[in-house]
């Protein structure tokens, strides 16, 4: 592969980008390596199709085929990333599928800094969670279906990430939604799980209404679906885009809010934990839910030029989301739900950073978060695997039984809590620093969001400390007959690999010292030219880290106390009654939605019923009319008319034949006599005619 990379690099001719794009970075077309990037997108689909058709006859339901394809994506993504690091690549391939009016419907693969980063993240997290799932899903009732859907997801995510036009992105967007639906409802025997799948699907559909309108308006204005054309028009100040920029930006952001579980669309993500844990790790933590952030990143030049008024809204939505979701995580007993709310909260950070105009900071948090959050989910899965319960009240003391899971989960938690020098520390600090920067550069309200971020950092550290102490410290409170044990190597090795990622991922963007990540992301067309801190923002750095450390310390004081019973801890940690009730009931948002749904449901159902009756009547009327008409045609025209005449012709011919056949006597001499008479008559006739 390395040889291929050098070959591709030497083959790729250098292209200089236009100077007005700000950076003047030399962009290469990436050569063969970029041209064949579509292989990454296609292979998972091939695997999904193969597993669907032959999975039942393949060992382990085709698990290793699925792992192989995502492993290929990882290797290819890594090689691309290294090449991109050496020489920035920006390459687009387009295939025309259909032309409708002035619009070309295309399938394209864009290979640039942003998509390469996502290829690598998807490849890395997918390889870890696929490998993990080989062991985790062993003996599952529907293993083949799981692998087919999981591979489908990998392919769909890569379609989304590699999209060169906004329509293809929409296709990928809906495909990941489909895979999410299939996998959340994997254990559909329980009504609760299939309802969760339905909920995720429907909430996303509501948000997708915004997305699809937001996709169509710019395409109608610019006359093309390509990002290249839309972003180009936006940067050049296309009057139509300037006029409708705010609306388009807001509609696209509504779509992003649905997929990235931003308030008020965040309600689906915690319920999505009904799916198998590797699914939660890959889709509902690292990749699919970051699609909204990716969309904002891809469209960032657009937001930064014509839709700049949307950005404060984006920032505030992110700020609100990070705080409310963080608070909810405190009262959860289900370990996966703690992580789910934590994911929503961290997505809030990314969105807030995007809203503050910090393209790099938001995507950097996406990058680091992918590692430590998928690590946490896989660790939680390992714990669940061992104690056969999702509830932390059934756990405790597991550090003695499962040391590898313990230390990897610990690293993940510290990284998430922003413990100094781990991945989350750098990225969270960068988000907060960019909010601080924005507050003094045109968006004063960013100060509030920055403080919300610091408070959330404290809350994050607190609930993660709670989760770690309740799970791994104290005494084992689960089923005494069933002693927990460490998971098999196939599950612990991905944990260890991700733990390494959770430590080192942060070092790829140390402000002012080592910033390859910033360079990766700016290696694209219409580079956003956002602000990059030249050094650490010491004020924010200290505050953010202190918030995290205090959170851990308070969590320790409440929940550590080795040997204490669960009840004793609960007595000691008690939020004031009303707040606790509010949090346990998730701010009654779900109930509020149900109220609206019920309010609309009855009139809608009645109206639909009435309309249905109308349609029924029309259909029945037509049916009766047709039946009468058919009867007339059959009996009157067909039977009495056509059939009768045909029968008469046949019968008449038969009768005539019957009557005339007696002429045929078989006697040669009679025939000869007739012949002679005939000739004689002809001769006489001839004679008469000629002699006249």
């Amino acid at each position: 592969m390395v040889n291929l990379a050098t070959l591709a690099l030497s083959a790729g001719s250098l292209l200089a980008t236009a100077e007005e794009e700000g950076h003047g970075v030399e962009l290469s077309d990436g050569g063969l390596l970029a041209q064949y990037a579509w292989l990454m997108v296609v292979l998972p689909f091939v695997a999904a199709l193969f597993i669907t058709l032959y999975g039942k006859r393949t060992p382990r339901g085709g698990a290793w085929i699925a792992v192989g394809t995502v492993g290929f994506v990882l290797v290819y993504g890594l090689v691309l990333l290294i090449s991109h690091w050496a020489t920035p690549i920006a390459h687009t391939e387009n295939i025309n599928i259909a032309t409708i009016g002035q619009f070309d419907i295309e399938w394209g693969v864009v290979v640039d800094g942003l998509s390469i980063m996502m290829f690598f993240v998807v490849g890395a997290i997918a390889t870890a969670s696929f490998t993990y799932a080989v062991s985790y899903m062993e003996g599952d009732i529907r293993e083949t279906a799981f692998w087919a859907s999981f591979s489908l997801f990998a392919g769909a995510m890569l379609v989304l990430v590699s999209a060169a036009n906004i329509l293809q992105m929409l296709v990928g967007w809906e495909l990941v939604g489909l895979a999410s639906y299939l996998l959340i409802g994997h254990y559909w025997e329980e009504k609760e799980n299939s309802s969760a799948a339905m909920k995720a699907f429907l909430v996303n559909k509501v948000a997708d209404v915004g997305l699809i309108i937001g996709v169509l308006i710019p395409a109608l204005i610019v006359g093309s679906f390509r990002f290249h054309d839309i972003l180009g028009a936006a940067v050049e100040g296309n009057p139509g885009l300037v006029k409708y920029g705010f609306v388009i930006g807001l509609l696209l952001f509504i779509g992003a809010m649905g997929k990235s579980a931003q308030f008020p669309f965040h309600v689906w993500l915690p319920d999505a934990m009904a799916g198998p844990t590797p699914v939660s790790a890959l889709m509902h933590a690292a990749t699919m839910v970051t699609a909204g952030v990716y969309l904002l990143g891809r469209m960032f030049p657009f937001y930064n030029s014509v839709a700049i008024d949307v950005l404060p809204i984006v920032m505030w939505i992110g700020g609100i989301t990070m705080l409310i979701a963080g608070l909810l995580a405190i009262v959860q007993d289900d370990i996966k739900r703690v992580l789910a709310y934590s994911t929503v909260s961290q997505l809030g950070y990314m969105v807030a950073a995007m809203g503050a105009g910090a393209y790099t900071a938001g995507l950097f948090h996406l990058f680091t978060h992918a590692f430590f959050k998928s690590l946490l989910f896989l660790g939680a899965g390992s714990v669940i695997h061992a104690v056969h319960s999702n509830n932390m009240s059934d756990m405790g003391g597991l550090r003695k039984y499962m040391p590898t899971t313990f230390w990897t989960f610990g690293i993940g938690s510290l990284a998430l809590a922003g413990f100094p020098l781990l991945a989350g520390f750098f990225s969270k600090d960068e988000v907060l620093a960019s909010l601080n920067y924005a507050s003094s550069h045109g968006t004063p309200s960013a100060t509030f969001v920055m403080w919300i971020g610091i408070v959330t950092a404290f809350i994050t550290a607190f609930y993660m400390a709670r989760a770690v102490f309740l799970t791994f410290f104290g005494e084992y409170k689960g089923d005494p007959a069933h002693e927990p044990h460490e998971s098999p190597r196939l599950m612990t090795v991905p944990l260890q690999a991700l733990a390494v990622g959770a430590i080192v991922a942060g070092y790829f963007n140390v402000p002012g010292i080592f910033t390859p990540f910033t360079d990766w992301l700016s290696g694209r067309e219409f580079a956003p030219g956002d602000h990059h801190a030249e050094s650490f923002d010491i004020f924010v750095l200290v505050l953010g880290s202190l918030a995290g450390l205090i959170g851990i310390a308070i969590g320790y004081s409440f929940f550590f106390a080795d040997g204490e019973s669960q009840e004793a801890r609960d007595r000691r940690f008690r939020l004031p009654g009303p707040i606790h009730t509010l949090l346990v009931n998730k701010y009654y948002i779900d109930d509020f939605y149900m109220l609206i749904v019920n309010f609309i449901k009855r009139p809608l159902a009645n109206a639909a019923n009435w309309l249905n009756g109308l349609i029924d009547a029309a259909v029945s009327g037509t049916g009766i009319l047709m039946s009468v008409l058919g009867k007339f045609v059959y009996e009157g025209l067909d039977q009495r008319g056509i059939d009768a005449s045909i029968n008469a012709i046949g019968g008449g011919t038969g009768e005539a034949g019957g009557a005339l056949r007696y002429i045929q006597t078989g006697k040669v001499q009679q025939y000869a006599a007739v012949l002679f008479i005939g000739v004689l008559l002809l001769a006489v006739g001839f004679f008469i005619v000629t002699s006249r």
């Binding site: 056949r661 007696y662 002429i663 045929q664 006597t665 078989g666 006697k667 040669v668 001499q669 000869a672 006599a673 002679f676």
Partner: protein, 99 residues
Amino acid sequence: MTIAQFAILGGLLFSVGVYGVLVRRNAVLVLLSVELMMTAVNINLVAFGRFYDNISGQIFSLFVIAVAAAEVGIGLAIVLLIFRNRSSANVDELDLLRW
């Protein structure tokens, strides 16, 4: 000798042949009657050939004789086979193509 005398001879001979074909029951005699009809035709051909001073009439009659010989050969062979199969050469009984 006028042409009418030859024509009358031909007509009479032809009528005898027709009578034989229509009336005789033995297949051999039917064949012979056919020969008579051909002979009448030959007389006509030769007579008219001479009358119009055209040699082709005589030449054509030679062809007719040759064809008649061949025809009689085949006809007699058929009659012989019929006789062997049915021990009769009676034309009246050969009515297999009857309704």
